[in-house]
C-alpha cells in the first residue's frame, strides 16, 4: 500500500529481470542461447563489414582507376553473401523454429507443474489469479522475445559502433551529428513509450469488452440465447459505444503522439539529413570531399539511422519484458500454503473436525507490486461460504449426509476435508492425526470425491475414470465395474470404442459428446474406481433423471456397505438413507441426527423435507 507508485521500475530491476530470463533460456535451451549471441555478434560484424566494403568500393571508383581492386572487392562481397546467406537461412528456417518451440514446451511444462502445486485458494482470489496465474499465459512467448531482442540488440550495437567509428575517421562532424540525433531519439522514444503505456491501460478494459462480445458470437455457448432474443441488439449497441470510446482514447493520445512525431521525424529526421547534405555539398565544393566519399557517407548514414532506430525500439521493450518477468519470478517464488506433511497415510478408521473455522484470507497471497497508480484490485467475494466453529466426527462404515441451502458452506467443508484448503482455526483429524502431517498427495488419494462442479477431461473414458493413470492390463476390470455401478453401462454399450472412446469431439472426430447426466455418471464412476474407504459425493445426482438417481442410490447403499460415504445434497430424497444428517446454514452446523430424529425435532430440516415431499404425497392420496 505504501509504495503504490512503484510502477516505475529502476533500470537495475529491468536489467536483473531480463538477465534472469536469459539465464532461464540458457538453462532450458543452451543451443538457442548460444546462437543468439553468435547471431548477434557475427551478424553485427558482417553488417558493418558489408558497409565498409561498399564504402571502399565507392571510394575506388574513378576513370582509369584500379579496376582489379573493384573486382576483388565485389568478389569478396559475393563470397560473403553466399556464405552468410546460407547460414542465415539455415538458422532461421531450419534450426530456430524447432528450438523456439522446444523452449516454449519446456517452459510451459515447468509453469504447468508450478501451477499444479498452487493452492486451490490461489484460483479463488481474483487478484492473485489475474496477476500471476493467468499472466503466465504469455511468459514463454515473452522468453522468446527477450532472446530475439537481445540477439538483435547485440547485432545493432556491434554494427552501429563499427559504422560510427568508420564515420569518425571520414567525417567527424557527421558522426557527432548522428550521435546527438541518437541520444535525442532515445529520450523522445522513452517519453512516447510512457505515453503508450498509459494509453494501453485506458484501452485495456475496452479491448476486453470487445473480446467478450466477440466471444459471445464465436462460441456455441450463447448461440441459442442470441437466436431467440433481442440480446443481439443490446450487444451491438454496446459494441458501437465501445468502438466510439476506443476512437476517443486513440484520438486523444494521437494528438500527443503527433507532437512527438513532428519533432522526431521533422527535426531529428529530415531536418538533420538536409542540413548534413548542405554541409557535405559545401565540403565538396571546397574540394575537401570526393564524389565517391559523399555517396559513401550518405549510404552509411542511412544504414546507421536504420540500425539506431531499430536498436531504440528494442531497448524500450525491455522494461515491458521486465514487468512480465517480475510476475514470472514471483510466480515461481510463491510457496503454497497447503504444505505436504511427511507421514504415510494409513487405512481409514475415523475422521473428526474439531471446532473448525474457515474464511478466505486473500490478503495472505502475494500481490503484484508494479501496478499502475490508479489500479483498483478486483472486488473479492464476500466470505459467504465461510465456516464457523464446526465440529463433527464419523467412523469407518458410516453414511452421513450434509444438507443445507445454496451457500451454506457445504462445499467448503468438502474442500477442507480434501485438504484443498487448510482451516483458519481448529483442526481436522484423520485417524486422530492432524491431516497436515500426512503426505498430501497420498492423503487425497485415500478419499474418493466427486464435486458438484466436476470436470470431464478431453481424453478417453478409461483415463477419465481412473483420473489419469490407466493401464489396460490392470485397470480394465476396475473401470468397467465402476462404470457399471455408476449406471453408465447402457451408454457404454452404444460406444464403438468402449472405454477407449475419447470424450468430446474437440480433438477426435470419433469422440463423443456426453450429456450432463452422462458426464456426471463418469464423475461418479471415478469415485467407485478409486475404491477408497471414504467417499464424498457432492450433489451426485443433480443432473440425473429419476431412474438413474434411484439406481445410483441403490448402488451406493448396496456396494458401499463397509465404506464411509459423505453425501452433500439439497435433494433430501438422497440423504434420507444416511445414518446421520448434518444440516448447515450460514456456515454453521444447525441440526444433526438421523432422519427420524430430525423430523421429530420439527426444525429446519423437517420444514425443508416437507416442502420437497409435499407434491408426491398429494398425488398419492
Amino acid at each position: 500500500m505504501a509504495d503504490k507508485k512503484k510502477i516505475k521500475q529502476s533500470i537495475g530491476t529491468v536489467f536483473k529481470n531480463n538477465i534472469y530470463m536469459l539465464k532461464q533460456v540458457a538453462h532450458y535451451t543452451p543451443g538457442y542461447f548460444v546462437f543468439m549471441i553468435i547471431e548477434g555478434v557475427v551478424w553485427g560484424l558482417i553488417n558493418s563489414a558489408e558497409a565498409i566494403f561498399t564504402f571502399n568500393l565507392l571510394n575506388s571508383v574513378e576513370y582509369g582507376g584500379n579496376f582489379g581492386k573493384v573486382v576483388l572487392i565485389l568478389g569478396i562481397m559475393a563470397l560473403f553473401k553466399i556464405i552468410t546467406g546460407a547460414f542465415d537461412k539455415w538458422y532461421w528456417h531450419i534450426y530456430n523454429p524447432l528450438l523456439k518451440q522446444k523452449l516454449h514446451l519446456k517452459m510451459q511444462a515447468e509453469l504447468f507443474k508450478k501451477a499444479h502445486t498452487l493452492d486451490v485458494a490461489c484460483f479463488d482470489d481474483p487478484e492473485f489469479y489475474n496477476d500471476f496465474v493467468w499472466a503466465m499465459d504469455q511468459s514463454d512467448k515473452r522468453a522468446v522475445e527477450v532472446v530475439e531482442d537481445t540477439g538483435k540488440l547485440i547485432n545493432r550495437v556491434v554494427a552501429s559502433t563499427a559504422l560510427v567509428s568508420l564515420m569518425m575517421t571520414v567525417s567527424p562532424w557527421v558522426a557527432i551529428l548522428i550521435l546527438v540525433m541518437s541520444v535525442l531519439t532515445i529520450v523522445l522514444d522513452t517519453m512516447v513509450n510512457k505515453l503508450s503505456f498509459r494509453q494501453s491501460k485506458e484501452n485495456n478494459p475496452l479491448e476486453r469488452k470487445k473480446k467478450y462480445i466477440n466471444r459471445v458470437y464465436r462460441l456455441a455457448d450463447h448461440a441459442k440465447e442470441l437466436r431467440i432474443s433481442g440480446a443481439d441488439g443490446l450487444l451491438m449497441d454496446e459494441y458501437d459505444q465501445n468502438t466510439e470510446k476506443l476512437i476517443e482514447v486513440q484520438t486523444r493520445y494521437g494528438k500527443k503522439y503527433f507532437w512527438f512525431g513532428v519533432f522526431e521525424w521533422m527535426v531529428l529526421g529530415d531536418g538533420i539529413f538536409f542540413a548534413m547534405l548542405i554541409y557535405l555539398i559545401l565540403q565538396m565544393n571546397a574540394g575537401a570531399l570526393q564524389i565517391g566519399g559523399f555517396i559513401a557517407i550518405i549510404s552509411v548514414y542511412w544504414r546507421i539511422r536504420w540500425l539506431l532506430s531499430d536498436l531504440i525500439e528494442r531497448l524500450t521493450k525491455y522494461s515491458l519484458h521486465s514487468l512480465f518477468i517480475e510476475k514470472y519470478r514471483e510466480f515461481f517464488k510463491f510457496e503454497p500454503t497447503v504444505k505436504s506433511g511427511s507421514l504415510p497415510v494409513p487405512e481409514f478408521e475415523s475422521f473428526e473436525l474439531k471446532n473448525v473455522s474457515f474464511s478466505y484470507d486473500f490478503d495472505a497471497l502475494p500481490k503484484y507490486k508494479f501496478h499502475d497508480e490508479d489500479y483498483v484490485p478486483p472486488k473479492k467475494e464476500a466470505n459467504r461460504d465461510a465456516l464457523k466453529n464446526v465440529s463433527l466426527s464419523f467412523k469407518k462404515g458410516e453414511k452421513l449426509a450434509i444438507v443445507g441451502y445454496n451457500g451454506a458452506g457445504k462445499t467448503t467443508l468438502i474442500k477442507l476435508i480434501m485438504r484443498l484448503y487448510d482451516p483458519t482455526e481448529g483442526e481436522i483429524l484423520y485417524n486422530g492425526t492432524d491431516v497436515r502431517e500426512f503426505d498430501v498427495d497420498q492423503y487425497r488419494k485415500r478419499i474418493g470425491a466427486v464435486f458438484q462442479d466436476f470436470k470431464i477431461f478431453a481424453t478417453s473414458i478409461a483415463e477419465n475414470v481412473m483420473n489419469g493413470e490407466y493401464s489396460e492390463s490392470d485397470d480394465k476390470e476396475k473401470v468397467l465395474n465402476a462404470l457399471d455401478m455408476a449406471d453408465f453401462s447402457v451408454k457404454l454399450d452404444s460406444l464403438e470404442d468402449g472405454i477407449e472412446t475419447k470424450l468430446t469431439r474437440e480433438f477426435d472426430e470419433k469422440g463423443t459428446n456426453l450429456s450432463g447426466g452422462e458426464q456426471q455418471k463418469i464423475a461418479i464412476a471415478r469415485v467407485f474406481a478409486s475404491n477408497c474407504d471414504m467417499m464424498i459425493l457432492d450433489e451426485p445426482s443433480s443432473a440425473l433423471d429419476p431412474n438413474a438417481e434411484y439406481r445410483l442410490n441403490q448402488a451406493i447403499t448396496e456396494k458401499t456397505k463397509d465404506k464411509t460415504v459423505v453425501f452433500i445434497s439439497h435433494r433430501l430424497s438422497t440423504t434420507r438413507m444416511a445414518d446421520r444428517i448434518y444440516m448447515f446454514a450460514g456456515g454453521r452446523l444447525q441440526e444433526e441426527g438421523s432422519h427420524a430424529e430430525l423430523m421429530a425435532r420439527n426444525g429446519k430440516y423437517a420444514e425443508m423435507f416437507r416442502l420437497q415431499s409435499e407434491k408426491y404425497e398429494l398425488t398419492q392420496q
Binding site: 524447432l98 486451490v120 476486453r208 456455441a220 441459442k224 549510404s299
Partner: protein, 616 residues
Amino acid sequence: MSKKEDKKGKKKKLSFKRTVSNNLFALKIIWKNAPFYMTVYLISSIIYGILDFLVGSFMLRLIVDSISEKNEVSRIITIVAGLGLINITFNFFMQWFWNVLSPRYTNRIAAHVEKMLFKKAGEVELACYETPDFYDKYVKAMDEAYTRVTKVMRSLNLLIQRIVALFSNSLLLFFIDPVLIIFGVFPLLLGIFRRKSNVLSHKISTEQKPLNRRAEYVRRTFYLGEYAKEMRLGNMYKNMLRDLAATYTDFKAIVKKYRVKRALYEYFQHIGLEVITILGAMLYSTYSAMCVGVDNGGMSIGDCVVVLNSIGMISYCLNSLVQNVSEFGEHGLFLEDVRFFLDYEPAIKWGELTVPSEGGVLSVNNVSFRYSGSEEDTLKNVSFSLNKGERIALVGSNGSGKTTLVKLLMRFYDPTGGDISLDGKPLKEYDGESFRKSFGTVFQDFKLFSMSVKNNVLLRKSTENEDEKVVSALKNSGIYDKVNGFEKGIDTVLTREFDDLGENMSVGEQQKIALARVFVSDAPFVILDEPSSALDPIAEYKMFENMMKATEGKSVIFISHRLSAAVLSDRVILMENGSIAECGTHSELMAQNGKYASMFKKQAESYLGSEVVSHG
C-alpha cells in the same frame, strides 16, 4: 473423402482471380465506410513514392552532376533546401493524419467488418457450430477480420509507394544506361521462390492449428480454476503434460517436413537478388565507368556512383514489392475464410408469416432427427401436438432426446424426417424473428451475459418504464430480494469482468435470473429445460408455483427430472431412446402402471418410504 481433399487442396492455392476479388472486397468495404481516409491514404502513397525518388536518387544525381560540372553551389543548395522544406511540410500533415485522424477510420472500418460477421453468426444454424470444418473457418474469420481489412489497405499503400519509386528509379537508370534495366527485371523472376516459400509457411501454420488447439486445452486445464480441484486429486495432470509433449513431437514432424524446402527457396532468392542482381549491376557499372569511360559511351563517374547507390534502392523496392504482392496473396487466403462465412447461406430458411400473438397449435408429425456425423437417429418417429394453453411435461432418462426435441420445436435444427407445423403450416413459412420471439425459454445450459440484470432479463433494449415489469419478473423467479440488495439494483452488471461494482452470482441465482426472462416475456410458447436443477427445494417450490401462475393460458413444455413437477402438467410425455414411450395425464399414466408410474413411485418412495407408496 476425395472430394473433401480436393476442397482442401484448392483452398491452399487460391486462384489469382479469387485473390484479386478478395482484396477488392476488402477495399470496397474501406471505400464505403471511409472514402476520405482512403483518398488521402492513396494520394499520400503516391507522394511518398515520388519524394523517395526525389530525395533518394534524383537529388543525389543533381548534386553529383552540379559538383562535377563545377556549377554555382548556391543553386544546388537552394534546390536541396527547397526539397527539404517540401518533405518536412508533407510529413507534418501526414503525422497529423496518422496519429489524429486515422484511428477514427480504422476502428470504424474494422468494427463494420466485425459486425458483419456477428450478424452472420446470429443467422447460421446451430449445426454449424458442431461441424469442425465450418467452425474452424469461422473462428479463423473472427480472429482475422478485425485487422485484416485494414492490412489490405496498408499493403496497397506500400504497393503504390514501391511502384512509384521503382518506376522513377528505373527511369533514371534507363536514362543513364538502358542495359541496367536487365538488373531491374531479374529480381521479378525471383518472386516465384518467395511465393513458394509463403505457401509453405501457410501450410505449416494450417497444419499446426490442431496442435495449438490441443496445447491450448492443456493450458486451460492447468490455469483455469474450474479444473483445479480434479487436477489435484488424481494424476490427470501427468496425462496433460504428456499430451503437451506429444504436441511438440507432432509439431517437429510438421516443421521437418517443410523446413529444408523452405530454406532453399529463401536461399535461392537471396543469392539471386543480393549476389547476381546487385553485385552484377555494380560490376557492370564500375566496369563501364572505370574501363570504358564516358568518352567512349560508358558512364560518368557521377552516374556510376548514383547507380551504385540506387541499385540498392531498386533491389530494396523490388524485394519488398515481391513481399508486398505475396501479402495480397495472404490477405486473399484469410479473406477467403471471411467471405466463405459471410456468403454462407444458412440452411434454415424462413418465410413471411407472422406468428399470431396468442400462439397456435404446434404439431410434430412423425419426426426423426439425426445429428450430422452421428450414426444413429436421436429422435425416431415422434408425433404429438401442443395445443393452445396446454402444459406438457417432457420426462425420460438422460439422452432420450428431450432436449433435441425442444431444439427442433424451436427450429434450431430441421428434422431429418417428418415435419413440424404451426397451425397446420410448416415452420419454414414463418418469419424467423417472429417465430423465435414467440418462445420464452430457459435452456438447460442457459447463459447470462455480462450486462445489467435488467438487460439480462429483457434480453433486448429496454424502453421507458419497464423497470416495473423486470422487478415483478425477478420477484416471481424469487431473486428480487438478492438483486435489490445490490447497490445499483436491477442496473447492476453481472460478473465483475467489466465493472468493479458488478456482482458474481451462484449457479442457482443465475438460473433464477434466466427464469425471470420467461416471466417477463409475452411469448405464447414457453419452454423450460430443467428449470429447477440448480435450485434448492424451497426456491424450487416457490418457482413452480409462480411459474404456473405466470404461464396461465400459454402453451408450455417443460423438461424436468423431478416428477413432482409433472403432476402439475396437463399431459406427460415419456421419452425413451428417441421415441415417445408413454403419453397421457399424470393420473392416466399412473393408472396405466407402466414405466412412468414405476419411475414416479421410485422417486416418491425415497421421500415417503416404501410403505406409503405401496399403500397409496
